[in-house]
């Protein structure tokens, strides 16, 4: 992570010592398994219903928890009367701020501590009380029976007005959360040197993660030990936070999350719901399952913050950038949560530009705190920068592809000392993508529809992801059994990206056994190794090298065993499918299952660790995307006809799941571009008006192009780590919305600077343009 930014909540997490750089193994020259299309090793479990997700857990005697939430964006609790709720048959526990059990400190952020139940509620949905009951229906009856007297206070839910002097304050010190600055070169000079200067305002709206599985957990006590089955991206992160809140040793908090139904950053840490479930289970001496309702997840489990951006850019006639001057105002809601974190990163670092200045102002409003959302900050900044590049291309008469190729950086300009990238495939992504998309022809064809009611447009955008190289720590334990099958033990969660499958492929690559002979134990603090949460597109580049190391440890031991049996030096021996043989003496060959020491010992254990990243170098993935749209000039409806993504994410580990990530990232980006917006009732109530999937629209099967082409630019990154893989999940969603906006501009001549580009908004602009015509 860069500097003080802690978007993945790693601050304060116990991080074991990183081993010193040892004798790193040679990079793979050719691979047999890695890089192929491998169906998921846990496909059967996920598709047969036998995979138990945390929300599927049903335990004997289990109760159901529910949380009463403040209906106002800003209110003070004057009184709570739970007597009627307590009398309802089937209600087993009621918890409020007055309950002795609820005296728990809760960290919203590393620097901001509150109580589990606060007297002052600073956002709609803040927890007020909780119940446990025999069924969720009775729990919900009980919530309605709790009477709360609120003193409703004035609120601020529009971040653009939050700094006005009369704006109601979220915190006593005011609504300014932070202001950060960055500068290099001299922006004024840069603008003077420019042949063309363009300035524009942009805005992206607030998005809600809404993973399919709701947020929550099941909690069970056995004496002093607590087990939590949580839908999470990181079991160790949940363990750490739950143990701290409950004042327990880590050893007595076991968190299990074998499967989970999506998180996108919103499940990198536990919620108050986790602690509340544990408290209710302790009060009732029964297991408690507490999953939020869908409506609650809209209010309290994070978001991608809305942001207003202003960008002024200077460019020479030949397309060389001379200056980028950027400022933004955003909000992470009621608590410090990085409302503008990384919004300016692409402005700083994507294209070569000697003179850059950015200013990011994060303000508080009375709304739910943000959580990291797939590539925090980046899609927002990309929306501004990529539309600006498109506009600069137009003004200089250059092709959008050409102007980007003019400004390809080979080192990170925004980092101190300008460290080079281990690999940078930005140029290759643009060139390959444009070729496979047939960019020039598609642009020309689209321009022939200029007089039609249904017009076509073609657009592109690029991005990098500021991390994505992975890093220590990771520890993997690999056990090879005497029959040649293996057990891989890893702490990391597979959040749907295919982590387990990729790891099985790495083992299979080294030990030459089938990926389906490998049983994986993961995401359980009681039985698996320490891992940081799966997020930041770092899981494959973090875990895969450790898995490879573990496999190599096993291999080394097997070779030593074979050397004893075959009476030959290790250096003479080679691995074959299920056997070891001598390179010089063809008579010397032994099957793995015949190795004397393996039979005696029963298993061979390899412990692998993630080595350090290369010093003074940056590991970033790159991407270029191309799309074609059609726009109905009479209705403002947009159809996205096709999409192509050229991703440079180092080595492609599993082509099948790689392509799945690409399609998924683009689909999510289409949501940002076309449909997603949080609507807060600024005037009357300050409440969120569209907290459900009917009113907050996600892309459906009808909103995505029938075909999304994944055209990886494979550049195994041997310096990055011992598998050459970089992250993919986040970079692939960053440029999508900007690419669509550029395509719509190409089709209509309208520059949609504010998301989402729904028919109502687009039509209004089309009508206005006709009037001004």
């Amino acid at each position: 992570m860069e500097g003080k930014k802690d978007i993945y909540y790693l601050h304060g997490l116990a991080v074991p010592e990183t081993p010193a750089a040892g004798n790193a193994p040679e990079p793979w020259k050719e691979t047999r398994v890695v890089g192929t299309r491998q169906p998921r090793v846990d496909g059967y479990e996920r598709l047969s219903g036998s995979a138990i997700y945390p929300s599927d857990v049903v335990l004997p005697g289990m109760l159901y928890g529910a949380v009463l939430r403040c209906p106002h964006p800003h209110a003070e609790i004057e009184d709570i009367d739970t007597s009627a709720a307590e009398k309802i048959p089937g209600v087993r526990a009621v918890l409020t701020g007055r309950s002795p059990d609820a005296e728990v400190l809760w960290r919203e952020d590393q620097d901001y501590q509150t109580l589990l139940f606060n007297r002052i509620c600073r956002f709609e949905g803040e927890a007020v009380a909780a119940v446990a009951a025999d069924t969720p229906y009775i729990a919900s009856d009980a919530l309605r029976a709790i009477r709360v007297e609120y003193k409703v206070l004035p609120f601020t839910v529009n971040e653009r007005r939050a700094l006005e002097p009369d704006a109601p304050k979220v915190h006593s010190h005011g609504n300014r959360a932070s202001v950060t600055h960055y500068a290099r070169g001299d922006v004024f000079k840069g603008l003077e040197q420019a042949d063309v200067v363009h300035e524009e305002s942009y805005r992206t709206q607030c998005e809600i993660h809404t993973p399919m599985e709701l947020h929550g957990c099941a909690a069970r006590w056995e004496g002093d030990s607590l087990t939590i089955w949580e839908s999470t991206q990181g079991v160790y992160a949940v363990q750490e936070k739950a143990a701290r809140a409950l004042g327990m040793p880590l050893s007595r908090v076991r968190v299990i999350g074998h499967y989970m139904g999506g998180g996108f950053g919103s499940k990198l840490k536990p919620g108050k719901y986790t602690i509340i479930a544990a408290l209710l289970a302790r009060m009732t001496a029964r297991p408690v399952k507490l999953f939020l309702t869908r409506e609650e997840t809209y209010l309290v489990t994070g978001n991608r913050p809305p942001v207003d951006m202003r960008l002024k850019a200077g460019v020479k006639k030949d397309g060389t950038l001379t200056a980028l001057d950027f400022s933004c105002v955003g909000t992470g809601g009621a608590f410090p949560s990085g409302g503008t974190a990384l919004v300016d990163w692409l402005i700083r670092d994507l294209y070569t530009c000697p003179n850059v200045r950015t200013e990011s102002t994060d303000v508080f409003i009375h709304a739910g705190p943000a959580r990291p959302f797939r590539a925090p900050g980046h899609p927002q900044g990309s929306w501004a920068l990529e539309q600006m590049m498109d506009a600069l291309a137009e003004k200089t008469g250059l092709d959008p592809v050409e102007i980007r190729l003019k400004n390809i950086p080979l080192y990170s300009q925004a980092r101190e000392g300008n460290p080079p990238y281990t690999t940078t495939g930005l140029k290759e992504c643009i060139v390959r993508g444009a070729r496979e998309f047939d960019w020039k022809r598609a642009r020309a064809q689209a321009e022939k529809t200029r007089n039609h009611t249904i017009r076509r447009g073609v657009g592109m955008a690029c991005a990098l992801w500021f991390v994505g190289g992975g890093r220590p720590p990771s520890t993997i334990v690999l056990k090879l059994f005497s029959d040649g099958s293996a057990n891989l033990n890893m702490g990391a969660s597979d959040i749907g990206t295919g982590t387990k499958t990729v790891m099985a492929m790495v083992v299979a690559e080294e030990l030459r056994i089938s990926p389906h002979m490998i049983q994986i134990e993961n995401a359980d603090t009681g039985t698996t190794q320490f891992a940081t949460p799966s997020g930041g597109s770092k899981t494959v580049p973090t875990e895969a090298p450790a898995v490879r190391d573990a496999a190599l440890q096993v291999k080394r031991q097997l070779l030593e065993m074979a050397a004893k049996d075959l009476e030959a030096p290790v250096s003479e021996l080679k691995f074959d499918i299920d056997a070891i043989f001598s390179k010089t003496d063809s008579g010397k060959r032994i099957k793995l299952t015949d190795l004397t020491d393996l039979k005696k010992g029963g298993v061979v254990v390899g412990i692998g660790r993630r080595g350090p990243n290369p010093e003074h170098k940056v590991v970033n993935p790159f991407v270029a995307q191309f799309c074609e749209v059609q726009v109905n000039m009479k209705t403002g409806e947009v159809g996205i006809l096709r999409f192509l993504s050229a991703n440079e994410s180092g080595r492609v580990m599993d082509r099948l799941t790689f392509d799945g990530q690409v399609a998924g990232g683009i689909t999510m980006g289409i949501g940002l571009a076309m449909t997603e917006i949080r609507v807060l009732d600024e005037r009357a109530t300050g409440k969120m008006l569209n907290r459900n999937w009917h009113d907050y629209k996600l892309p459906t099967a009808l909103d995505v192009p029938p075909v999304i082409v994944s055209a990886p630019v494979e550049m195994p990154d041997d310096e990055a780590n011992t598998t050459g893989a970089k992250g993919l999940g986040e970079p692939v969603t960053i440029p999508t919305a900007g690419a669509v906006a550029n395509a719509i501009h190409h089709a209509t001549g309208i520059r949609m600077t504010e998301s989402p580009m729904d028919p109502t908004r687009l039509l209004a602009r089309l009508v206005q343009a006709t009037k001004e015509g």
Binding site: P39, R40, G43, Y44, R46, L47, S48, G49, S55, D56, V58, L68, P71, A84, A85, I88, P89, G90, T135, P136, Y137, S140, D141, L143, R144, A145, I146, R147, V148, H209, T210, P211, M212, E213, L214, Y259, G261, G262, T293, R294, E295, G496, G498, D659, G660, A663, G664, G665, M668, N692, W693, H694, L698, P699, T700, A701, L702, V704, P706, V707
Partner: protein
């Protein structure tokens, strides 16, 4: 939300055995179903309260399950929490996402929008019902081959939607496939792979495999 300060009495009011929906606040899911209940049947039945249970027999995956349910319990709640059949998932509980899609008499329906009582006398098929013992059905196999899922949570519902489509239209067009799964959200964005899986399943079946 928004109704948290109601009098407790309103919760515990009596309700009629069949027309239990009207006049009582039993939560958004049940309320939305009220349009399905014929108004003319409301008056004629005795009152029972929300804590009381009724015996119901559900035919799920060709097995009969007889149990006591509260009239307000959804089919989804009974399937997941009472019978432990966990292939059917809950994404919203109010008919928005399709994660709980099951077949009711061969038609894909949202189990969260169907009361357990309404489902009596009908043939209910869940994800588990597509399997032959431990063997996956053709649609499930196709989803694996095309990697038509990521986290896997919406997937059972997607599979049931495709299954229902193929039972009605064995060889659907791409447009029919898109419409067929358009009632099922996938936040991971596996749609394009789901289209391919539906096409593959259709091909596999026409080659001679049944489900």
């Amino acid at each position: 939300m928004g109704k948290q300060n109601d009098q407790p009495d309103s919760v515990r009011q009596g309700i009629t055995r069949r027309g239990f929906i009207t006049g009582v606040d039993v939560g958004a899911a049940a309320l939305t179903v009220s349009t399905c209940v014929s108004a003319s049947r409301v008056e004629e039945h005795e009152l029972i309260s929300s804590g009381e249970t009724v015996k119901v027999t559900l035919n799920i995956n060709s097995r009969k399950h007889t149990l006591l349910v509260e009239p307000r319990w959804t089919l989804l709640f009974v399937i997941r929490e009472r019978l432990g059949i966990t292939g059917t998932k809950e994404g919203c509980g109010r008919g928005e996402c399709g994660a709980c899609t099951v077949l009711i008499d061969e038609i894909p329906r949202y189990a969260c929008m169907t009361l357990a009582l309404e489902a009596e006398g009908h043939e209910i098929t869940t994800l588990e019902g597509l399997m032959d013992g431990e063997r996956l059905g053709t649609v499930q196999e196709a989803f694996i081959a095309e990697d038509a899922y990521q986290c896997g949570y919406c997937t059972p519902g997607q599979i049931m939607a495709v299954e229902g489509l193929l039972r009605k239209i064995p060889e659907p067009s791409p447009e029919e496939i898109r419409r067929g799964v358009s009632g099922n959200l996938c936040r991971c964005g596996a749609y394009t792979h789901i289209f391919k899986a539906a096409e593959r399943a259709s091909r596999d079946r026409s080659k001679g495999g049944s489900s």
